[in-house]
Symmetry: C2
Subunit: 382 residues, 2 copies
């Protein structure tokens, strides 16, 4: 079912493209933005993002069978000694583990790029943090016995659609070393924040790959196949690659680049989302994360990046694959300001202040810009 | 706190405007679309929309205090004999009632209008159905004793922001007759689908006004004030009115106009959302609702509205303020098609086939269009 392509079905997909210099968001991009959604930035206040506020990206449709958990099975096959077919009861019979994981869409930041790659038009808010409960993938794979010649595990979801002319079930692979790692430990998850998975988050089963962008966390998981040659499906070989041009084979998108986001201070204007504050000390707070190494530093700027001030970072709490809170105080003066925050991780990676452009619009962790208007001290409004 | 306006704060809001003929969706509209979200149309399959799939529109921010339910109080004052201040425990001591209600944003359909009013750019998916649990407002008002000279109840939420230069807490009013009605019965709700209200749906308290567009269902409710003159706040007098021009005083937006929506059949292309089906019988299914009178008929078209075919409608189930399921069968033939559904209610109102334009982009219940491509019978893909 993966990768079939006929002339007729190819005709319904437009080729990938870059928006023109003066081109607004297209009706197709808007249709994606109306379905998928980011996390309202005030929800950075929560350690765990409540249901419905965590970002969601669904490539095709939420499968109709997502609610029918009684009949759901997960097959593990291919280059294994003992293929398995497991229902939910069988998965729940393994010892359960829970990991707190910050998940971010690889396309987060895409709509801020100039020129803009035309796809799901994220600004900065395609993120969320949850506690995922399930079975470590390494335990399941040990149960099956991975053959020595296996190089990758291919994960197949139940969501089905067409992308650039290719009809497919959503599929992604991981190298065997990543699939069997103990840190980060990949999960076959059936729970989110203490409850079952909601339909849009993969009910009844999904993969969780701590530290990796969202495309790796295959939802509505129904099959795991060990293969002896690298997987070349659409989502691995064509999409989700850092490319500079259409014919550049590119580099695979894998782990999450560092990013800090701020809870926009004060209160907003409805339409422009410009923030309003009053003069004096303003508490700034947000979260920072990286899927490459722990965040070690966050800096804040209130002059469009001319100067940076180190923020206070909460101490490590044992959740190495989840965001960390940071805090700073800004003394607001009347007028217009642009606030930014910038994360640095233990590998030395820091968020760029110039956009890291690529044709797919992946991994754009350019620093956030928050427009703030500080009222005069004698302003009559309350 | 409502309606204060100073020259300085007014400067951060752009005036209401209509997009130019070739103008794409603006960055400001995109920022709203990334925060707020519709219901993915495949979720029309559920009687009750699961958490996170119900549409959400937040004018300003989700209040930071939304989680602090222990300290929350609701005041009822103004033209009443006995003003009350109630905490959640006091509200829960009244007998609880539960109503199943379909809620829709008044701006649903706005981004399909030509020309397009610039605001939250909904296509068709700003809808959802939930069971809301709480105290009937008429019981609370009877407890307080509404004075004979009261004409309206004004509801104040905790969300605070600026809109077209006016700093405000979100506020809306209802005539006393609507506020004290037994059918539809207005609720002060603290529960949604059997759990507490999620933050984005008004935790810990919201108003639910069955049959009315979403703007009436004030979230994060903290005050109810009975007044002896009609309320003239921004959301009542300026916004949420059907106007043909900027200086038209307009007509208030109140009840939900009839609408039918279809679960898009087959499977989608990622970017265009065009649907793919194979030749033969295709099951069509969706929901229809009206806040004015029960839906009595749904018609379906598969030839862009040239001909219409009556769909089967589920029998009434006692949930008069919630959507009803409809079903039809279409025999798909190879080629491109546009499918539509059209609801008619007991008052004789039917969805228009020509857009009902107004300057705010409210109540656009123009029939849905679903682009479907039917593959040839001998297509090679599976």
């Amino acid at each position: 079912m993966d990768g079939r392509r006929s002339g007729d079905i190819a005709g319904i997909s437009a080729p990938g493209r870059i928006a023109g210099p003066a081109e607004g968001i297209s009706p197709e991009e808007l249709a994606l933005a109306a379905r998928n959604h980011g996390m309202p930035l005030e929800a950075l206040s929560y350690d765990l993002t409540p249901a419905g506020l965590h970002y969601v990206l669904v490539h095709y449709d939420i499968p109709a069978a997502a609610g029918d958990t009684g009949a759901w099975t997960l097959s593990v096959d291919g280059r294994v000694r003992t293929p398995l077919t497991l229902d939910l009861a069988a998965l729940r019979s393994f010892p359960a583990v829970t990991h707190r994981v910050t998940m971010e869409c690889a396309g987060n930041g895409r709509a801020r790029l100039k020129p803009r790659p035309v796809s799901q038009p994220w600004l900065v808010e395609a993120v969320g943090t949850a506690e995922w409960t399930g079975v470590p993938l390494r335990i399941l794979l040990a149960e099956c016995g991975v053959q020595p010649d296996a190089v990758e595990a291919v994960f197949t979801g139940a969501d089905h659609g067409v992308e650039r002319g290719v009809e497919q079930d959503y599929q992604r692979s991981l190298p065997v070393a990543d699939a069997t790692s103990g840190d980060p430990e990949v999960l076959v998850a059936y729970g989110m924040n203490g409850g079952p998975l909601p339909p849009q988050h993969g009910c009844p089963l999904r993969l969780v790959v701590p530290g990796w962008y969202g495309m790796a966390h295959v939802k509505w998981l129904r099959g795991i196949t060990l293969v002896d040659t690298p997987f070349e499906g659409f989502q691995q070989k064509v999409a989700y690659r850092y490319k500079q041009s259409a014919d550049d084979p590119g580099v695979p998108v894998t782990r999450i680049a560092p990013r800090a986001l701020m809870i926009p201070p004060g209160f907003p204007d409805f339409m422009s989302r410009t923030r309003v504050v009053r003069p004096g000390p303003v508490h700034l707070e947000g979260r920072a994360w990286s899927g490459r190494a722990p965040v070690t530093r966050v800096d804040v700027s209130w002059d469009e990046g001319d100067s940076w001030h180190e923020a206070g970072l909460d101490p490590p709490d044992g959740h190495d694959w989840a965001w960390r809170r940071w805090r700073a105080t800004w003394t607001a003066e009347p007028g217009s300001h642009v606030l930014s925050a910038r994360a640095t991780d233990a590998s030395g990676d820091a968020q760029p202040v110039d956009q890291p452009w690529n044709r797919g619009g992946f991994g754009n962790n350019l620093v956030q810009r928050v427009a703030v208007h500080c009222l005069p001290a004698d302003d009559a409004s309350v």
